[in-house]
Symmetry: C2
Amino acid sequence: MAEINTRILFKSRPSGWVTPENFEAVTADVPAPGPDDVLVRNIYMSLDPYMRGRMNAGKSYISGFELGEVMRAGVVGQVAASNNANFAEGDFVNGMLGWENYSLVPGGNGLTKVDPSLAPLSYYLGVLGMPGMTAYVGLLDIGEPKEGDTVYISAASGAVGQIVGQIARIKGCRVTGSAGSDAKVAYIRDELGFDAAFNYRAVESLDAGLREACPDGIDVYFENVGGEMLDAVLNRINPFARIVACGMISQYNKERPDGVHNLMSLVRCKAKIHGFIVSDHWDRLPAFTRDMGGWLKEGRVKYREDIAQGLENAPATFIGMLKGENFGKQVVQITDDPTR
Amino acid sequence: MAEINTRILFKSRPSGWVTPENFEAVTADVPAPGPDDVLVRNIYMSLDPYMRGRMNAGKSYISGFELGEVMRAGVVGQVAASNNANFAEGDFVNGMLGWENYSLVPGGNGLTKVDPSLAPLSYYLGVLGMPGMTAYVGLLDIGEPKEGDTVYISAASGAVGQIVGQIARIKGCRVTGSAGSDAKVAYIRDELGFDAAFNYRAVESLDAGLREACPDGIDVYFENVGGEMLDAVLNRINPFARIVACGMISQYNKERPDGVHNLMSLVRCKAKIHGFIVSDHWDRLPAFTRDMGGWLKEGRVKYREDIAQGLENAPATFIGMLKGENFGKQVVQITDDPTR
């Protein structure tokens, strides 16, 4: 193959905010698959907040990125060449691959086939993939919402938040959320059917926003944000509240995370903050796939993506996502999608 | 009855540290019981950290103290006079009564009889009472310790902490703790059999103390302290750790609680902080009474009290306890104990 493989490497660790200088684009030949290997032409790549943690030297939930190596992400692509009996040229596949045009997958390890007739390819990076399952497991298994509960979601128009809200609605909860622009707020309220929502950048205070959105307090908080937002929520929780700690995006680029002051509320309210990571819950994959597939088909779950174009724009898009500039699940399209 | 009833009233709300001026001692006649009433001569009174919360205007776990009213506490006493068929003069009883020599109990409501032949009377305020059951329910039901787990306990020589450590040992855990003096540390290590312990006032840093005491990380943290200690523990927890939030005594006298910075650790470690209050768990009373009674009898649980003498010293003793000056469960002896 005479084609060029552009690859984005992890050049330096950020201290505080990620900058374009933390990345380096290089070009290489497209690798040739050896025995049992699979070569994937990457079509869509997922950018998610948790990836910021992998850029730190300390431990994150999963192993850190290695300096000088290609950046990694969830990718949907098409098999370009295969010496592996399980994958044929032309198959569509999903896996943790590189920020690059072509990824060589030794032994095809970690690849799973996806069916483009069931949903758009990029959905396998979102509503039908890791973020969707994160929403499903986090809300249902950790949050244990009961009919009539008030569920509050921060970053509610994001990859995970938008799905959490819709599942909570299906389960009969009063669903509330916040997001960082009026357009996002209008979307979750008017398109997704949230019962109340506010723009956290425009309210007088987070406490005032929460008081208006959740006049009866909060039974389940799906925590994507951390810091000040968590502190404000702690003042509004009901007895036996469950705070599902999925992520804390407001804190990832701080040299020192903000202090949270109102934790005594957990004792007073007999409440919990419970962290989780979707990869501990693969046993729930069949239930998730069945339920989410059904809800999408029935139109009970909608899904919004924010698709940036071009691998070369991935670093800037990643930084923008960490700042909340995306509207919906952030994806980067690397090359043409042959199914569209 | 010609005797005088000294009563300590709640005079003013503290802002920050409790001071002697927040209390007022008054004298009154000993009340005469009406129909169905019970009059109790109070012998021992319990002083516990949670009572600080009841002095605030805001909500605590239980209803606040009323200004101008007598202070309340767990009390063991003897029935001095009774018009109630369930209680006879001379019976020993336990209840939420006043900081006073005599409490009038309308209808005998909330009184339970205790058996002085089974244990010293004051034990019903501690190891066999609310603090003991707090330790039992908090560790076993919320902390869910497994054999071989490292359990770490702050305020480990206190009313609850000393019991938690001994139950954890019975359950086959590696038990570690911290306390505020070398004598307390020696006590929990040498007398109670903790595997490791440190004086939090004497270590180079909390992190250093924890690193040495818990080289394999922390699986269960029994949280009595809050603030800096919680932050340091969050950096040492293992995957799936359980933080049992029983109280946060370091924070009760602060105008604004300290910020806790390391909560992202909950996500990374798939861990939880879970608040609880013993009064939601009365269904566990029979199991607690059976187990703790047995352990005491077998000498598998020891129990240390710090008994101050005299009702008039209750305010200063309470303030001292909030500062960690007690060594063991803080009790005030109000009058002679006829069983000793």
